[in-house]
Amino acid sequence: MSDAIGGENPRRLQIKFSVPSDPRYLCVVRGAIGSLAAVIGWDEPECRAIALAVDEALTNVIRHAYHNRTDALMELECRESADGLEITLLDNGDAPDRSKICAREIGCDQPGGLGTHIIKKVMDKVSYEESPEGNRFVASKRLRKSS
């Protein structure tokens, strides 16, 4: 008999959030992601960076997909993988403008547009897709074990 439910690996943590598009919930998600990253094996600065990257993805949805509406929903799934962490974020708002992703120069004195740079720098793989379920943001990061 398998211990798996719904085909999930019973030895790896998977967290699913239904997050209202209200910024007051962001701190809750950050706390959970930081703790998950620590359990997987990242050090404290890396855990903060991973929590920041996920926060930036949620913030982008709130601002650009939902235009700061607080009554919409985001579905966030965080999975411990064989070699790290995988993040999937779904929303039903406006699709991201691909021409604006990482479009600004970093290190200059222009406000705004830094979030996608942060995500790209922190995570190893990042993709923005449109699917029948809505906009899908997928990101992953591998844990590099020191020998």
Binding site: R48, T59, G107, C108, L114, H117, I118, K121, V122
Partner: protein, 109 residues
């Protein structure tokens, strides 16, 4: 997030304690924009910030630009590890005047 303001000579020193994100950065922006015209120098203590995201960084850049327009000095000091990491990721440290201590920031060290 808690924000307090005190006068030190002709300068205003603003202390921020807590997390700066999409929900709290508008409050920080409002207070800094209110305080800035009334001081020759605005010194922002970032030592007690446990978290800051790109909306917080954008707020600091907006205040910097407003200070330049008003010909005021806007300086940062006491950057916490969380702030230093985000500054490093975004390379924005080069656009600010950054000091380790309040005395250095105010030029009284």
């Amino acid at each position: 997030m808690k924000i307090s303001v005190r006068d030190v000579g002709a300068a205003k020193v603003v202390e921020v304690d807590g997390e700066v994100d999409l929900g709290t950065s508008p409050d920080l922006r409002r207070i800094l924009f209110e305080v800035l015209p009334a001081a020759e120098m605005l010194a922002l203590n970032l030592g007690a910030i446990r978290y800051i995201d790109s909306s917080g960084i954008a707020t600091l850049i907006e205040v910097l630009k407003r200070s330049q327009n008003l010909k005021k000095q806007f300086v940062l000091f006491g950057l916490s590890p969380a702030v230093q990491e985000v500054f490093r990721l975004t390379h924005v440290i080069r656009v600010f005047q950054v000091f380790e201590t309040e005395r250095e920031a105010l030029g009284t060290a």
